[in-house]
């Protein structure tokens, strides 16, 4: 074989072979560059192109809100890892943990061999996202901050998980309920509200926070609307000065009776005197998922009790 190669005057067979397959190789290379057929690509909230060769088979979620969406899309069979905080729906407890919220364990994540990791901005630090990408795991980063982003988020996740039709259904339903609510509260008078995320010390949700956007949507006026910081350590004097109609408290810090007792000290507030201090479920209010509509409706009922007497 080697002798025939050194023979001048005869074109060696291997050369012919190589020549013939070159165009095929070029075609193949071109295809790789463009992307294999049936590849799924979306842009995530950190402006990265997130591409999977085919619909995701194994997904790990780093955030409770995203775990909820996966279940909503009917893709729970694809979920192979979640954080300790992912508590909704109840079936999620059957999925193994890969760490605490905001502190995922890299080893455990690799151990469950995901082809996609979905996370919020808080759920994983940029360094963690880098590490995962370098290990060949595709990462989708979500940075939804308002109700306007929920539909887009569900659609993109639906594409990645191969649940496009379910996603479309969920988004349609979400938008329908949202628009109904908007129509309902449109003309109603807006009560003034203070939303205490923490009571000791007093930390209030400002206009720029997600909760602030919920208050606006449900037809209320946040007394901390104009502040530039999303969650601010607030002066009780300002609350007294504004004297809001409603005081809302996240139940993470205090539960029911204890909460009301804590706020009962502030007799100068008319909300306290009239018994308008309400604890709200933190998991419902703070997660940017389609389920937020339930939270929104709860807020709307509190803000405009008169509009709901017919039973919605």
């Amino acid at each position: 074989m080697a002798n025939s190669v050194m023979n001048c005057g005869t074109i060696p067979s291997w050369f012919v072979f190589l020549l013939s397959i070159m165009p095929c190789m070029q075609l193949l290379a071109a295809t790789w560059a463009v992307g294999a057929p049936h590849e799924i690509c979306v842009t995530d909230d950190s402006s990265r192109q997130v591409c999977l060769p085919r619909a995701c088979q194994r997904v790990v979620s780093f955030a409770p809100s995203l775990t909820e969406i996966v279940f909503l899309l009917g893709a729970a069979d694809l979920l192979v890892g979640k954080t300790q905080r992912c508590n909704h729906p109840r079936e999620a407890s059957k999925i193994p943990d890969v760490g605490a919220y905001m502190k995922p364990d890299l080893e455990r994540v690799i151990g469950v061999r995901p082809d996609l990791v979905i996370t919020t901005n808080d759920g994983a630090r940029p360094e963690m996202v880098e590490r995962l990408s370098r290990l060949g795991i595709v990462v989708f980063v979500d940075d939804s901050r308002s109700l306007d982003h929920v539909g887009n988020l569900v659609e993109r996740l639906g594409r990645l998980l191969g649940r496009d039709s379910e996603a479309r259904g969920i988004v349609r339903d979400f938008e329908r309920r949202r628009n109904e609510l908007r129509r309902l509260v449109q003309g109603a008078s807006k009560p003034t509200v203070v939303f205490a995320v923490g009571s000791r010390p007093l930390v209030v949700a400002g206009g720029k926070s997600f909760i602030g956007s919920l208050i606006r949507e449900a037809g209320g006026t946040n007394i901390a609307e104009d502040e530039s910081i999303p969650f601010l350590r607030f002066s009780i004097e300002e609350v007294i000065r504004q004297d809001p109609d409603l005081v809302l408290v996240l139940d993470k810090e205090c539960h029911d009776e204890e909460c009301r007792a804590e706020w009962r000290r502030h007799e100068m507030l008319k909300a306290v005197r009239e018994g308008n201090v309400f604890p709200l479920d933190a998991d419902l209010m703070a997660r940017c998922t389609p389920r937020i509509i339930d939270g929104l409706e709860q807020l709307a009922r509190l803000f405009h009790p008169g509009l709901f007497t017919q039973g919605k």
Binding site: R85, Y101, M102, G198, R200, P201, L202, V203, A224, E227, I229, L232, R233, F234, S235, I236, E237, E238, I240, R241, K252, E253, C254, H255, E258, R265, M268, A282
Partner: protein, 332 residues
């Protein structure tokens, strides 16, 4: 000589008392711009606005200002005592691990014991301080052969570091909500004041301070040197134990009601010493009143400067205390 010390004490004390009262009044009247205070002054407590302003001042600002004054007085006085007994200019009330112990107690209460009443946090902080002081004493007693002061300082550093490490461990396992509460507690938080806390802390601080002041002479002797003090007839071991215990109790009380406010216990004693001399008979009243005025003023600033956002008081004490102290150092 006795008489001149007495006159100096009276002179300094009256001056500082005047400052304290001025700070207190300003702190009461300042807040949300105007806020009916003008109405109150002009129309008396009859008008609606006036009554509202009155209630604000009495229910919110007064207990808060009093708590700040009490905390400042306690920290500064304890600082004087520690600096005297340990003869170390870097000694502050937190030097024997009280801050570490108190913080650990508070952090455990916030993170692990769940959303309890605030008294729970204060109590746990106080117990934590007690634990830290107990450990320091235990370590100091175990090393009886070596220098007492070195041992106490070293033990304090070690116990403080250990408690801090435990505290960081608890923090690292906590949720974000607890972390936020813990952070505000660590930076010093006077916004949760009510009369109960103020009276409780006030009593302890005043009693503690009085007891120390009555023994100011002994503190002077200790500050000169342990051997000299012994030759002059002082029971050094008993005096040391007494002073450190009282000062630790005062500090632990303050930490449990206001969190760890830094800088006051270090800078106020030194400032007073630079201004009025090292005689503890003058220094103790000066530190008490000066510390009270300083922290009350800082709390007022923390409340007002970024209204309606409240800044942590510990930030204000450091930002104002440090440049002023540097200025004094340079001047002398």
């Amino acid at each position: 000589m006795n008489l001149s010390a007495l006159w100096k004490t009276i002179f300094v004390s009256s001056g500082l008392l005047f400052v304290l009262i001025a700070v207190g009044l300003i702190s009461l009247l300042v807040g949300a711009t105007g806020f009916g205070v003008k109405r109150l002054l002009l129309e008396g407590a009859g008008s609606e606005e006036g009554r509202k302003a009155m209630t604000i001042m009495l229910s919110y600002r007064l207990p808060r200002m009093l708590l700040a004054a009490v905390a400042g007085a306690g920290l500064a006085s304890a600082g004087v005592v520690f600096q005297g007994v340990l003869r170390n200019p870097l000694a502050d009330p937190y030097i024997i691990g009280i801050a570490g112990g108190g913080s650990l107690g508070a952090v455990i209460s916030i993170a692990l014991l769940g959303p309890g009443r605030l008294l729970g946090t204060s109590l746990c902080a106080f117990l934590g301080s007690l634990l830290a002081v107990g450990l320091v004493y235990g370590l100091a007693a175990a090393r009886r052969s070596r220098g007492y002061i070195d041992t106490v300082i070293l033990a304090g550093v070690i116990v403080g570091a250990f408690m801090n490490a435990l505290m960081l461990l608890v923090i690292s396992l906590s949720g974000s909500h607890e972390i936020q509460r813990i952070l505000f507690w660590l930076m010093g938080d006077l916004s949760l004041s009510d009369y109960n806390k103020t009276v409780f802390a006030g009593l302890l601080v005043v009693v503690g301070w009085s007891v120390v002041y009555l023994n100011a002479n002994r503190l002077n002797l200790l500050a000169v040197g342990e051997d000299s003090a012994a030759y002059l007839g002082l029971n050094v071991a008993r005096a040391r134990f007494f002073f450190i215990t009282v000062a630790a109790a005062m500090t632990g009380t303050v930490v449990s009601v206001s969190g760890t406010v830094g800088f006051v216990g270090l800078v106020v004693p030194h400032t007073m010493r630079l201004l009025f001399g090292p005689d503890n008979r003058v220094l103790l009243p000066a530190a008490f009143l000066g510390g009270a005025a300083f922290l009350a003023a800082c709390d007022c600033v923390a409340r007002v400067v970024a209204y309606p956002v409240e800044l942590p008081v510990g930030v204000i004490t450091a930002l104002t205390g440090a440049p002023f102290f540097l200025y004094l150092l340079v001047r002398r």
